[in-house]
């Protein structure tokens, strides 16, 4: 197929060289100058995400594992998929084991390749919990970078996705988050912005949630 490659590139180069194009400068000021003050950022994120059916659970660094457990128990959630090798996963398993809460959800580790438990993942898991790299005030979006310890499908297949958000990891815009953290120097396999539960308006413009991915997105704000 390199024949096509060379033909296409040759044609493009000839076309461009015959009629070069001088583009205007790209002025990113409209994104650089978009700012909210600290307190306003989180309020804005909540407001924007709530408008698309996201739920919030406010907690603290000390209490979040217990608060998540109490929340899921109250919801009647049967089980929670988690990454056992992450720091958050370690706290979940040790603190839930120690809490002795009866009737709470079962913790299910995502410890092996998806091929080994695809069927259960699609058919037997109620909720999954992941961390985030922060959130974006401009659009009300979580930044999620799946890792070997926190695989991609944890935030997609379970009916409920819980996402831990540290209240001090907030950005004004998507552009600022990626430039300040130099994303271009090394992108992960899959980087994601998530701004609500899965939704569609393909049937007569009527919004419906949970068409393919999670039906509920719960952001656990950790202060």
């Amino acid at each position: 197929m390199s024949e096509s490659r060379n033909a296409i590139l040759g044609k493009l180069r000839a076309g461009r060289d015959a009629h070069p194009l001088t583009p205007p400068e790209s002025d990113f000021a409209v994104l650089r100058n978009k700012r909210w003050d600290g307190a306003e950022r989180l309020e804005r994120i909540k407001r924007m995400m709530e408008a698309v059916h996201t739920e919030f659970l406010e907690t603290t660094e000390a209490d979040w594992p217990a608060d998540v457990q109490a929340f899921l128990t109250a919801q009647g959630t049967r089980n929670l998929l988690f990454g056992p090798a992450t720091e958050a996963g370690g706290r979940l398993s040790s603190e839930w084991a120690a809490s002795g809460m009866a009737g709470g959800p079962e913790l299910i580790p995502y410890a092996d390749r998806v091929e080994t438990f695809k069927e259960r993942l699609f058919d037997g898991i109620d909720a999954g919990i992941t961390t985030t790299l922060g959130a974006i005030a401009d659009t009300g979006s979580l930044i999620v970078w799946p890792t070997p310890e926190e695989p991609r499908l944890m935030s997609l297949v379970p009916h409920m996705h819980l996402a831990l958000l540290r209240a001090d990891a907030l950005y004004d815009t998507f552009w600022q988050a990626m430039t300040e953290n130099r994303w271009a120097d090394g992108m992960p396999t899959n980087a994601l912005l998530i701004s609500g539960p899965s939704k569609t308006a393909d049937i007569e413009q009527t919004l419906a949630y949970g068409v393919h991915g999670p039906k509920r997105l719960v952001v656990v704000i950790v202060r």
């Binding site: 197929m1 044609k11 790209s26 912005l193 393909d202 393919h212």
Partner: protein
């Protein structure tokens, strides 16, 4: 779709008679227009981000061959296999050969306009591979054995009742319901089984980043994430214009795209895929293939003016605001891309012989140009294509194919008449005396009088009236 030329005039006449269809479109487009206006209510912000977005697209086009090479190099470094296709046949063959190598029987697809351009589903089915659309709108259209009528909302031409009947008729386990949540849930149950068992996932690409070798996909449903994560092989297809230079170019374009398309500040999911599953990772495809399609785009690129067509970010705002599209709907265009952008893109991609009628599906009102988030001069290109259709040339395939001898003679006569004062005086005097006697059914005049009243000539010419007022001829 056959290779014969399409008939927009006939198809649009039929669409205009369909009150249900007109109602469905009117309601949807009115809603989209007003919601979009709210998203861009801050005029300074709109102007800033629009200018930035247009510059990002123009910069990418100014370096297109180099950026495609860089994209290929960075994708390859990341483990993504890159393929090049000059034609849709070649692109289909590439996709098929990957499928055959992995013995694929079932494919789940995210929404991709390029795959519509390739007629990929029909092609795969011919080779015994089930290709299932997983975007709910595309799934509905596929069940209905129809074409998408909008590039963002493929099933916008149908209402809930029609979809409820379709599901009842085509899905085995369906109970009849007009409850949208229940209909959506039914599709979820059917499609989840398919995601879990598919051999290959196919997606489009909203933007490919040369700097990092990253494929960006925006979507609300999660079917794009499913298709690109669950099956062991992911194939992405993209038109060669979809590249941007840098990662930082992505946010402004996404902001313009999602706000223009569906009036959302952002879609539920923005996926940035940079490699197949790495050592130690527990999910994601083991192989990713990127198919870069030309299909006439390099020809478009060679022309300075037509090149602007390739700026398009496929937001669909031009169709939402087009007075023609909103009346007749997408199917009348009989093309993967309908509306204003389709009317300039399709003739350039498929040739004026087949698509030369589309640039006439326009009132030249400029609504699409005012709304276009990357400032494509759609109406100028529309005029250019009308002219190309009747004049021999080599800029667009099929140039001159719509030339009419009678029309050419009329224009020639018109030009000669206007160049000679004597001939002009004679002609206007003649029309003042006899013009009204000409029947409305005369060739050429008929095209006008079909939908409008025949013009009435005054019984005295302007020159004669002026002379009576004492104004001399110059």
């Amino acid at each position: 779709m056959g290779e014969t030329s399409i008939n927009f005039a006939k198809a649009s006449s039929a669409a205009l008679q369909d009150q249900q269809l007109r109602g469905n479109f009117r309601r949807a487009m009115d809603g989209l227009m007003s919601k979009r206006a709210v998203q861009f209510a801050d005029t300074a912000e709109w102007n800033g981000v629009r200018t930035l977005g247009a510059s990002v697209r123009l910069r990418a086009l100014s370096k297109l061959p180099e950026l495609l090479e860089k994209l290929e190099a960075n994708c390859t470094k990341n483990g993504i296999q890159v393929h090049w296709a000059s034609t849709t046949d070649e692109a289909n063959a590439i996709v098929l050969s990957i499928m055959q190598r992995v013995n694929a029987k079932l494919v789940v697809k995210g929404k991709s306009m390029v795959s519509e351009e390739m007629h990929l589903n029909a092609f795969l089915e011919k080779h015994g591979i089930e290709s299932l659309e997983s975007d709910l709108g595309e799934y509905i259209v596929q069940l209905d054995e129809a074409m998408p009528s909008h590039i963002i909302m493929p099933a916008i031409h149908m209402n809930t009742k029609q979809i409820a009947h379709l599901f009842k008729q085509k899905i085995k386990e369906a109970e009849y319901t007009e409850d949208v949540a229940q209909l959506t849930d039914l599709a979820r149950r059917v499609l989840r089984k398919k995601f879990a068992t598919a051999d290959v996932g196919i997606s489009g690409v909203n933007m490919a980043v040369a700097e990092t070798g990253t494929l960006c996909l925006v979507e609300n449903e999660g079917n794009g994430r499913m298709s690109t994560t669950v099956p062991p092989v992911h194939i992405a297809v993209m038109g060669l214009e979809k590249v941007v230079e840098k990662l930082e170019d992505v946010p402004p374009v996404i902001s313009l795209l999602t706000r223009s398309a569906t009036a959302q500040p952002i879609t539920t999911y923005v996926n940035m895929i940079s490699s197949p599953r790495k050592e130690g990772e527990k999910d994601g495809p083991n192989e990713i293939h990127l198919v870069i399609l030309d299909n006439g785009r390099s020809g478009i690129y060679a022309d300075e003016e037509l090149r602007n067509t390739l700026r398009c970010i496929r937001c669909g705002a031009c169709m939402n605001h087009c007075p023609v599209y909103t009346k007749v709907g997408g199917h009348a265009y009989q093309a993967p891309y309908p509306g204003p952008i389709g009317s300039i893109l399709m003739p350039q991609v498929e040739g004026l012989e087949k698509r030369g009628e589309l640039p006439h599906a326009c009132t030249m009102c400029n609504a699409c140009v005012e709304i276009c988030p990357v400032k494509i001069p759609i109406v100028e290109i529309m005029g250019r294509l009308r002219s190309e259709a009747v004049h021999p040339g080599d800029a667009v395939r099929g140039a001159g194919s719509h030339a009419s001898k009678a029309e050419a003679m009329v224009w020639k006569g018109w030009s000669m008449t206007y160049a000679s004062p004597l001939a002009y005086q004679f002609a206007t005097a003649l029309l003042a005396k006899l013009g009204n006697a000409a029947p409305a059914s005369l060739p050429l005049l008929k095209e006008w009088t079909n939908v409008r009243a025949k013009p009435r000539f005054a019984n005295r010419t302007l020159h004669a009236l002026a002379r009576e007022k004492g104004i001399p001829d110059v």
